[in-house]
Symmetry: C4
Subunit: 479 residues, 4 copies
C-alpha cells in the first residue's frame, strides 16, 4: 500500500514539526546569483512589505550562495564583511523585526556550487553558527559532494548528518534539501527534511529543451543538470507527486516570474502549477523591478490558497496528449486535478500546444481516483453537483498593481483581489468563504457532466470545484 | 543454468517450510484502507464462511496498515484500543476458531505507509509480540525505509532482519514481503520470504496507464509507484515468472474483483491471470457487498486449482502482439501457457484488444519449451492428443451465487460449481477428477494441431489440457 | 587506452596460468539437466573418443548441477551415492585415464540453481574437496546469491572468494564463472577467472525472442534470464568482444547443436560464431544420439582452429543491418571479422534474414581497424592480396560422419576433414598448413578489392584470409 | 544552483593549484601504442620545437602504457632498460632542458591496460618514484580495477588514493584521470584531479558508429568502450560541458589529426570542437610524418587561444537537428556557443550532414543564456553590435607549413599565422589584439540580427564575436 494515508499520527507528518504547508518567500539566486549584499536583502524585504507580498505569505528571505569568505581558526564559517558589514546576526534580527524568517545556504560538499566553503564534514559547527545567528531556514545544495552518491543510502546518509545537526541545536530551522532529485529523494527524504528539490535547476523558459537538462523524468535521472524548463519540471512531477506530504514538499525550484524569458500566460502556468503541486513558492526575481503584470501574478490569493491548503498534496496528471508543437518542437495538453482538505477539488486545464484549444474535463476524469478506490468507499463525489470557480478570473488589474508598486494604492481592502495571510490564514479564509480566494463563479458540473473551457496557447485554466450540499451521505453501516 | 529445477532437495523449496502453494484469503486495504476495526475482521470472516470462500481456500484474514497507536515504554507496539477493544490476541483466537489464519502488517521502515510506527530497528520485539498473539502471517511493507535501498544487497539485508526475527520466535509465520519489486527481489527474496510483491500497487483498472505507475517492466524499475493496472502488472510478470517457486511466490497484489472499476470479463482476466501465475490470491473487496457475479468469479474452483497446484510455477508468455487499441490507447493479444504437476497444461488466450478476436494456439506454440529442451528429453507432449477443458464454461450462475449470498443456497453439493478445499485439497480433487475442477470438455488437439477460440474484447479463455494416455513412453536407455 | 595490447607480460595473461585458449568439452546440462549419473559421464566420454571428438580437443567432461545430496557433519559436500556409486574420485581417475579432464559445478549462493547445497560460505572446504578428488575444472553458478550483487564490486568480491580458494589448494582447476553477465564481469572477471558467462542461458532457438530473456544488450543487463537465442547472445558480444583475452574468455554458453530446435545451417551459424568469438566450446547434447550431420558440424577442424588460435580474441561486428524479417519478426545481416596470431584474418558473412542474400566485404571494411589505427602503423594489410579459404567447403560428408558413428570409419587419415589435436595442436597444424584446417581455396581479394558470396537464409560464410607474401615491409626507422 | 559561478575563491579553482588552463602536448598512444622508447620521446620533442609546436603551447611529452617491466624487491616499478636505457630521470631532465614537462602513465588497477604492472595498492610508492624522477604529469587509467566501480563513491575513493599520493610527494604533478567517464566523474572528479576522460577511447573516424563504443550519452554510460568517433564524443559533451572548470577539464581524448582516417575538414572539426570545449589538447600522431595540412591545423593559434582562455569553460549546444545522413547513416547540424573571459563570444556552426548547408545563428540563439538569466542582469549583449572574426580564414598555407617541416621557414614572424605562447600567453595575446589570434574580420551582427554562413559538408565555421564598445552600461543601483 502506498496511497495517500487518511490517518496521520502525531509527530510523523513533519520530521521536525516544521513547514506543515509549503514555505513561501524570496531567494536571490535566479536574478542576482552571487551579486548579493545586506542592502539587497533588506531593501527587498521592505519592498515585499510595501507590495503586500509579505502579507500574502511570502515571509522567508533566503540568501543563496556566495555569502562567506572562509572558515576561521576554530572552524566556523566567516561571512563576507564587505557584503555583510552588519554581520549575519544583525541582518537576521532586522528581518525578524520586519516579520520575515531568514534563510541561508550551504552545500553537502566540500565547496558550495560557487566554490565557497561547503559544510561536508563541518555540519555541526555550521548548524550551531546559524542557530546562534537566529537563522530560520537552510537551503542545502549538492555540489562538490566527493562522490558520495549513487544509491539512495549514500545520499540519505550524507543529508541526514546535517538534518541531525540542525535538530541538535534546539533552534527550529526549516531544512530545504537541494540535491536535484539525485538518487530519488522522493523515496527517502521526508524523514530528514522539510522540502527537497526534485529536478535540475530551472531556467526562465516555458518549454524549450536544453542539452544541459537531459532528463525528461525525475525518476532514476543520473544527471539532473540545469536549464530545465517549466514544462520539463512540471511533467517530472507526475509520478512522484503522491510523495508530497505535510512537512515535506517536492521543490520544483524557485519562481522565474518577472525575469523576462516567458510570456504573461506562460508565467501564469508556471505560477499556477507550482502552487497546485505544493511546491515551495519562492519569488526568484528582482522585486524592485517587478512589473504590474508580474506583481499581479505573484499576488493571486486564490492560487496561493491552493498551495497553502493543509492537505499539502500534489496534483495528479489525468491525461497528457502530445499535439501541435510550437517553435521549440514541443506541444502538449494535459489535465491535472487535486483534492483539498475541505473536500474542494482543483482542476487545471493546461494548454502547452501552439494554438487555442477547447478543453474538457468530465466528472469521470476528475474523480477517476475516487471511482477506482474500492467498493466500500462509494464515491459520493460522482453523485454531487459541483460549482466551478475560475481562480484567475479576478486577477488583479495592471492598474491596481501599478498603484501598489507606485505606493499610492488606495484599495488595500479590495476583497476580490487582496488577502492578508498574516492576519488570517488561507485555511481560515477558505472556511470564511473569503471572496478573494474564489475568483469568479463560472458554472457548475452536474453528475456525469463535463466542464469545457477554451484555453489559449501556452496557458492554463485553474478551477476550484465545490460540491453543493447533499441532504445525507450514507455511512458504512448502512451499506 | 537457471531453468526450473526438476529435482528439489528437502528444506530448500521453502525457506521456512511454509506456503508451499500460494496464500489465499482476504486483506482489507483495497476496499477499506485505514478504516479498520475488529468487527470488520470478524464480520468478514463470518461472511467468508457463509459464502463458502473459506472452504474454497481463502483462509487468511489479513489486517493491513493503521492498527497500532504507538510503542509502549518497553518498545512494544500497542494496538489501537478503540478499533480493537478485545485486543489482538483475542481476535487471533477467534479467527483461529473460525478456521482462519490471522495476518498482520508492518513496514521495513521507521513508519508504515500511513505513518504509523514501523518496524525498522524493532524487528525482534515486533516479531515476538506477533508470535505471542498467535499471528500467522506478516505483510511487510517498504515505506519510510531511510534510503536503505539501491542495490539488491541493501534491500536483502534489510528484509532479512525481519525474516530472521520471525524465525527466531519459533512460531510459524508466513513472511509476505511488500517491497514493490524494488531492487529486483525476484532474484534474491526466495531464501528469506514466502512471497514478494513484484510491482507497484494495483488499482481497479484493466489497462489504463497512470502517470503514478511509470514502469512497464518489473526489472530494474526504480519507481514502482501505485495505480498500476491489471495488464501492467500482468506483463511485468513475463520475464520473472520463472523465479516463482514453491514457498516463494511473486505477489501481483490483492484482487480488485468487486470494487467496481472493471467489467465482468475484465475481472475474469484479472482473477484468471493472477491464479495462473501462482500469485497470492487475496480478496481485496468488501465481502459484505459482493455481487453475485463477483462471488461467482471468486468461487471458480477450476481456476483456483491451477493456483494451488503443487507445481507452484508461473506462466510463460509465448507471444504478444500490439493491436487494436481501446479508449485508453492500449490494445494487445497474447498467449500464455503453464505446466502443472501432473502433466496437465494450461493455455490462456488473452484478448486485451478492443474487439472480439479469433485466437489460435498451436501444439508447437503450447509446447515450445518442450520442443527446445534438449535432444535427450524428446518431447512426447508433441506426439500426444490433448483433451481441452474450458475452465470458465461452468462458471457459477448469478442465480446460484445470489442464493449463496442470500443464505438460501440449496445446492452446496453442486459438483460442477462447488469445491470444498478444507475437506479435499485441490491436488486431491484433480487426482480424483472432481468435475468442479475441469469446467467443460470442449474438444481436443491432435499432434501438430491447433486450438482456436473466439475471445471477446477484454476477456480471456482459460483451458486445461490433459493428454490422452499413450500406450508406452520410451525410456532413456532405450534411446 | 583500452585496445588490444600488443605486449603482454608473463603471468598477466591468465590469472592462474590456465586456459590460454578456450576450454572445449562436453557438459550435460542442455540435454540432460538433473538426470545425471556416472554411467552417463563415462559412456559419453567413451563415445567422444570413438567419434574422434576428444582428439579434436573436446577434452573436458563437465558434470553440471544435481550431483550432491548434502553436507556431512564436517561441512564437506557429499556426492549422491545412487547416481555416483563409485564416488567422484574414481570417476575423475577414470576420466583422466581416458584422456579427459573432469569438471564439476557449484553456485556462489546458498543453493545451486536446482536447489542443491551451494558453496557460498563454504568455498575453501568445497575447493579442497574437489582438489582431493582430482577435479580439473569448476563451473560456478549465480543462483541463490543472497542479494550480493548490484555493483561490480559486490559480484567481484563474491566470486573472488572461490577463486582464491581454488588457487590455495595448489591443484590446478580452471575456474569457469557463470554469473550470466550480471554486473558486467567483462570489466572485472579476467583477474579472478578463466571464463565468464556473458548472458542468460541459451535455448535451442536461432533467433526467436523470448520474454524470459528480456535484454538485447549484455551491458548493464539487470535481468539476464534464460531462453536466449543464438542471435541474441551473438549480438550481445559486439561491444564486449574486445575484453576476451588469453586466460579469460567470454562464455556464450554451451552448444545446442544436436538438440533439434534449429536447422542444419542455423547450427552452422551457432557453431561458427561461438568459435570465432573464442567462446568455450562445450558440446551440450546427447553424444549417444548425435546425427551424422551434427557430428559433421562439431567435427570441423577448420572452424575449431579459429577458436583455438593463440590470439585468443573476439570478433568485431563491422556492420549490421535490419532487413527482411522471418516468422519470429527478426531479420538482419552482418559482417564480422577477426585477426589471428599469424596474421591470417577471419571474415564471417552472416545472413539471419529470411532469404538468400548476395553479401559483400570490402578490403576497407575488413581492415577498417587497421586503417584507423594511427599514422605510424601504416596498414600494410591494405596493400596486400589475400587468398580466401572457405572453411565450411570441406565439411565432413554425412556418409563419412555416419561411418564414424557406426564404428566402421575407414578414413581416419582423411586429410581434408580430420584433425587430431591431441597429437598436433591447432597452432602447429596451421603452421604446417594442414589441409584439414583450410577448407577450400575459393579466390582472393586484391588491394581495394571486395569479396562477394551468396549466403543462404539463416546461414553464414566463414572465410580465412591469408596474405600473399610481399617482398619487403617497411620498418619504422625508414619512415 | 549549479550554474557557472561568477566568484571563485582562492584554492578552490584547482584542487592542487595546477592546470588552470587545459594541458597541451603530445602523447604516443594513438599512433605508437606500445612501440615506445626514449628516442621516440626525445626525437618527437625536438621536432615539436622545430615545428613551432612547443611554442604554441604543446609543452607536455606524455609517455603512455608499456614502459615498465616489473616491480623490484622493494616494490618500486622498474622501467624497461631496453626501451629506456638512459633511465627515466635522465629522460625527464632532458625534456625539461628542452622546455617540456614529462608525463607518465599508470592504471588504477592491478595491471595497466596492456597488462604491465598497475598502481592499485602501490599508489604511494609509485607517486614517490615518479616525483623522484621529476615527472610532471600522470595519466591514470582504469583497466583491471578489480570491480571497484559501480557507484560514484567506489570510483571516487579509488582515484582519490592516487590523488593524495601525488600531493603528498610535494612535487607538483598534474593528475589526468582516465576512467572513461565511468560512474560520471564530471560530478565528482574536480576535487581530486586536473582532468578526466569523459568517454571511451577515440578512434580516427569522424562519425562512424562502432559496436565497441555503444553509448551515445556520457551520462550513466556503463560501457564506455573504445572506437568512439569524433562526433560521438563531441555530442556526449553537451550535458556535461558546464562541469568543465579551471583546474579540471573534461578530457575528450587525444587528437587524431594526422592519423589518416579523416578528411582535412573533418580534422578541422575535431580540432576546433576539442579546443572550444577546453579539452586537453594532446597531439596523438607521429610528429615526424606530419603533413603540411595537418601541421597547419595543429598550428592555428586563433583556435588555441579559445582553448587556453582563462574562462576555462565548455561550449553549449544551442540546437541540433538530425538531417541528411552520410554513408555511415549519420547526419546532423548544430550550433555551439561559448563565452570567454574578456566578454568575447565563440560561435561554431557545425555541419556533419552530407552536403553543404547555409547555416544561421541569431543574436537570440547566441545569447539565449543571457536572455534567460534573470531580470536583474539585463543582457546588454543583446543590445550590442558584434564584430565577427572567422578563426580559420587565416589558416597557415600548405606552402608555409611545408617550409616549416622542411626546416627552411623564413617567416617565423608572420603575424597572421604564427604565435609564440612561450613568450606571450594567449591571454596577453588576446589583450594585445594579436592579429594571429583573430583570423579574418568577416562582418558583424547588429542587435536582433542573424549571422549566416555557408558551411561545407563535414566542416565547421568557428567565429570569435567581439562587442563594439557601447557608451555606458547601466549599473544595478540605477535600475
Amino acid at each position: 500500500s502506498s496511497g495517500t494515508p487518511e490517518v496521520i499520527i502525531p509527530g510523523a507528518s513533519s520530521y521536525n514539526g516544521l513547514n506543515l504547508v509549503p514555505q513561501m518567500g524570496w531567494n536571490n539566486w535566479n536574478a542576482f546569483q552571487c551579486d548579493v549584499d545586506e542592502s539587497l536583502l533588506l531593501d527587498t524585504a521592505q519592498k515585499m512589505i510595501d507590495f503586500g507580498l509579505r502579507d500574502l505569505g511570502y515571509n522567508h528571505i533566503v540568501l543563496d550562495d556566495c555569502w562567506s569568505i572562509d572558515r576561521n581558526e576554530s572552524g566556523y564559517l566567516v561571512s563576507d564583511p564587505i557584503k555583510f558589514p552588519s554581520g549575519m546576526k544583525a541582518i537576521a534580527d532586522r528581518l525578524h523585526q520586519l516579520g520575515f524568517r531568514f534563510g541561508m545556504y550551504s552545500s553537502a560538499g566540500i565547496f558550495t556550487c560557487a566554490r565557497y566553503p561547503g559544510s561536508l564534514g563541518h555540519e555541526q559547527k555550521d548548524a550551531d553558527l546559524w542557530a546562534s545567528w537566529g537563522v530560520d531556514y537552510l537551503k542545502y545544495d549538492n555540489c562538490f559532494n566527493q562522490g558520495q552518491s549513487g544509491t539512495p543510502k549514500l545520499s540519505f546518509d550524507r543529508y541526514k548528518v546535517m538534518s541531525d545537526a540542525l535538530n541538535s541545536t534546539g533552534h527550529p530551522m526549516v531544512y530545504s534539501m537541494c540535491n536535484w532529485g539525485n538518487d530519488d529523494p522522493y523515496d527517502w527524504a521526508y524523514t530528514i527534511a522539510n522540502s527537497g528539490r526534485m529536478s535540475g535547476d530551472i531556467y526562465d523558459s516555458f518549454n524549450r529543451p536544453d542539452a544541459r537538462c537531459p532528463c525528461t523524468e525525475a525518476i532514476g535521472c543520473s544527471w539532473p543538470g540545469f536549464h530545465c524548463s517549466v514544462m520539463n519540471i512540471l511533467n517530472k512531477m507526475a509520478p512522484i507527486a503522491p510523495r508530497t506530504m505535510s512537512g515535506y514538499f517536492n521543490d520544483m525550484d524557485m519562481l522565474e516570474v518577472g525575469n523576462g524569458g516567458q510570456s504573461d500566460s506562460e508565467y501564469v502556468v508556471h505560477f499556477s502549477m507550482w502552487a497546485i503541486h505544493s511546491s515551495p513558492m519562492l519569488i526568484g526575481t528582482n522585486v524592485g523591478t517587478l512589473s504590474p503584470a508580474n506583481l499581479a501574478i505573484y499576488s493571486n490569493p486564490a492560487i496561493l490558497a491552493i498551495n497553502q491548503d493543509p492537505s499539502a498534496g500534489g496534483a495528479s496528471r489525468k491525461w497528457r496528449y502530445f499535439v501541435d508543437p510550437d517553435e521549440t518542437g514541443e506541444g502538449e495538453i494535459s489535465l491535472w486535478t487535486r483534492g483539498l482538505k475541505n473536500g474542494d477539488r482543483i482542476v487545471a486545464l493546461l494548454n502547452a500546444a501552439n494554438s487555442t484549444m477547447m478543453m474538457n474535463a468530465s466528472m469521470n476524469e476528475i474523480f477517476f481516483d475516487q471511482r477506482t478506490a474500492g467498493a466500500y468507499r462509494e464515491p459520493e463525489e460522482l453523485r454531487q453537483t459541483w460549482d466551478i470557480y475560475d481562480l484567475w478570473a479576478n486577477r488583479m488589474s495592471e492598474e491596481e498593481a501599478a498603484s501598489i508598486i507606485n505606493g499610492n494604492a488606495t484599495t488595500r481592502g479590495n476583497h476580490t483581489t487582496r488577502f492578508n495571510a498574516t492576519a488570517t490564514s488561507y485555511a481560515e479564509g477558505i472556511a470564511n468563504n473569503d471572496t478573494a480566494l474564489f475568483g469568479v463563479h463560472v458554472g457548475s458540473i452536474a453528475p456525469s457532466g463535463t466542464f469545457s473551457a477554451e484555453i489559449a496557447r501556452h496557458s492554463v485554466g485553474v478551477y476550484r470545484l465545490r460540491a453543493r450540499p447533499t441532504p445525507t451521505s450514507r455511512k458504512r453501516d448502512e451499506l
